[in-house]
């Protein structure tokens, strides 16, 4: 159990010394996962809202599929994106394999179903309350979607955080499409995997603690933003 003790020490040392390599890795992790969340939200929110307010044949099949895709294995997503972006693949000419962009793409694919499915759930409940009002106002579906998304914004923030949590924590997809290249595509999770495979367990655990602290910090920041905004709204 001495690994835990030395991991705490190492984690503090790394953070206090502002180790430049660690800083680079942390910044890349944030850049990749935040970008992926933005993309996933741009696709997932409207998609979830649209499915929430429309009724069509095969809708329940779509819902089952969306919910099932929330459990997409990161390795499978990574492999699929690798095959697409590989030089031998259909999108090889984009030269994106082993770049942060490829990692963003993989994580966006991974979390879009989560964002879409959770926002569908959230917005469908809201829509049940609003449906009559919308009908009396004769709103088009597009107008309804906009109004619902705006009114559900605080709940959607939590949905986005769920997506972010999944993105920043996954290793299977980014290690395949990013390659864990030092100073280029190495993020927190792949660095932890590398240190573990070197047997540097304390250092790996220390990096894990830093990762958890960052996730904690982001969640706290978003939560306080939300509190300030809602106070402002009701003032």
């Amino acid at each position: 159990m001495q690994d835990f003790g030395s991991a705490f020490g190492l984690a503090f040392g790394l953070v206090l010394s502002l180790d430049p390599e660690l800083l680079e890795i942390v910044l890349l992790s944030l850049r990749v996962s935040l970008s992926a969340v933005v993309i996933a939200c741009l696709v997932g929110f409207p998609l979830g809202a649209l499915i929430a307010i429309t009724r069509f044949r095969g809708r329940s099949a779509v819902l089952v599929l969306m919910n099932a895709l929330m459990g997409l294995p990161p390795v499978v997503v990574g492999l699929a994106i690798y095959l697409l972006l590989s030089n031998a693949g259909p999108l090889g000419w984009l030269r994106l394999l082993y770049t942060p962009t490829a990692m963003i793409l993989a994580q966006a694919v991974l979390i879009t179903p989560i964002i879409a499915a959770l926002s569908r759930e959230l917005i469908e409940q809201l829509h049940d309350e609003y449906a009559e009002q919308f009908q009396s106002l004769c709103l088009s579906p597009l107008q309804s979607v906009r109004a619902l998304l705006w009114d559900a914004r605080y709940g959607l923030l939590t949905v986005a955080l769920a997506g972010f949590g999944r993105a920043i924590a996954e290793v299977g997809a980014v290690i395949i499409v990013g390659g864990n290249i030092a100073n280029l595509t190495r993020v927190m999770t792949t660095a932890i995997a590398l240190e573990t495979s070197k047997g540097e367990l304390a250092l790996a655990l220390a990096l894990g603690m830093v990762l958890i602290s960052i996730a904690l910090g982001i969640n706290a920041a978003v939560m306080s933003l939300r509190l300030t905004a809602s106070r402002h709204a009701f003032a």
């Binding site: 935040l34 933005v38 031998a88 082993y98 962009t101 109004a147 009114d151 280029l184 495979s197 047997g199």
Partner: protein, 284 residues
């Protein structure tokens, strides 16, 4: 539902510009860089951290290394996802060149494989230098063996040794023969965790920090020789291969400076890799 129109800090146009900068960021200043598909053993041992800065300082060429098992590295290179291949499975490398994926193969360096196990050595392997006999003994004793099981260079070597020992471990898969399907370091972690014997390259072993009470039990058998080779991916097959920069790297690694850099890499006072390119220079 109505929201008042406050002055907006984030106009859509600004948000898009900001986001594009976030996504595109690092690619803006791409100096010349090559991609090397290589093995976990060379990366986990710290060799690249030692030699690559010397090459980059001299040529200005950045070397990006993707470290995976030899089998996967070869597969990636076949797909054209890499400029240079540096791995350790000679027959697979020669096949790679024969099939037209690589220009030519050169010996770079060598070290050796060792069989490691718990200090108590319940199967009594430390009495022999014969690696195949040791494995046969291990199988007879029923002790647990952790295999890479991932088609890597080390895995191929292990399978060759089993063949020489006359034992087919496939029958014991899931029993005393445990295939981890992972890299060298991960497999060693697993082996130490379950008290299993394992085959590893010496460089990874020396650099491995989670040894517990493990030690080297079998070494010195000529069959445990571990040769690394380097190959330029064939531009005729994959036109995007950076021929000049890739060849510059190969020339440097096989030249006096690269070979000296490899020889000078030590961990705990032990040399990890022995350079052994013996052909003409520049290599043809």
């Amino acid at each position: 539902m109505m929201h008042n129109h406050r002055r907006r800090l984030f106009t859509p146009a600004r948000a898009i510009v900001l986001f594009a900068a976030l996504i595109g960021g690092a690619q803006a200043l791409a100096e010349e860089a090559i991609l090397v598909q290589s093995t976990t053993s060379t990366q986990n041992s710290g060799l690249y951290d030692h030699i690559l800065p010397q090459f980059t300082a001299k040529t200005g060429i950045q070397v990006n290394v993707v470290a995976v098992g030899t089998g996967q590295a070869i597969k990636n290179a076949q797909n054209g996802d890499g400029d240079v291949l540096l791995v350790h499975a000679k027959s697979a490398e020669e096949k790679f060149v024969e099939e037209g994926y690589g220009v030519a193969r050169f010996d770079v360096m060598y070290n050796d494989f060792v069989i490691v196990g718990p200090d108590a050595d319940p199967a009594g392997l430390s009495n022999t230098e014969d690696a195949a006999a040791a494995l046969a003994e291990l199988a007879a004793s029923g002790s647990v063996f952790a295999s890479r099981g991932d088609n890597s260079g080390t895995h191929k070597k292990e399978l060759a040794l089993w063949q020489a020992s006359g034992v087919d471990p496939a029958n014991a898969s899931g029993g005393w023969y445990r295939e981890t399907g992972s890299g060298m370091g991960a497999t060693l972690n697993t082996a130490v965790g379950m008290g299993a014997y394992s085959l590893t390259d010496r460089a990874t072993w020396i650099n491995f920090k989670n040894k517990g009470d493990y030690r080297i039990l079998v070494e010195g058998d000529p069959r445990l020789f571990n040769q690394y080779g380097i190959i330029l991916v064939d531009p005729a097959r994959h036109p995007n291969v950076k021929v000049d920069a890739g060849q510059a790297f190969i020339d440097w690694v096989l030249g006096p400076e690269g070979q000296a850099a490899i020889a000078s890499y030590q961990v705990d006072g032990q040399q990890l890799f022995y350079p052994n390119y013996e052909g003409p220079w520049p290599p043809k």
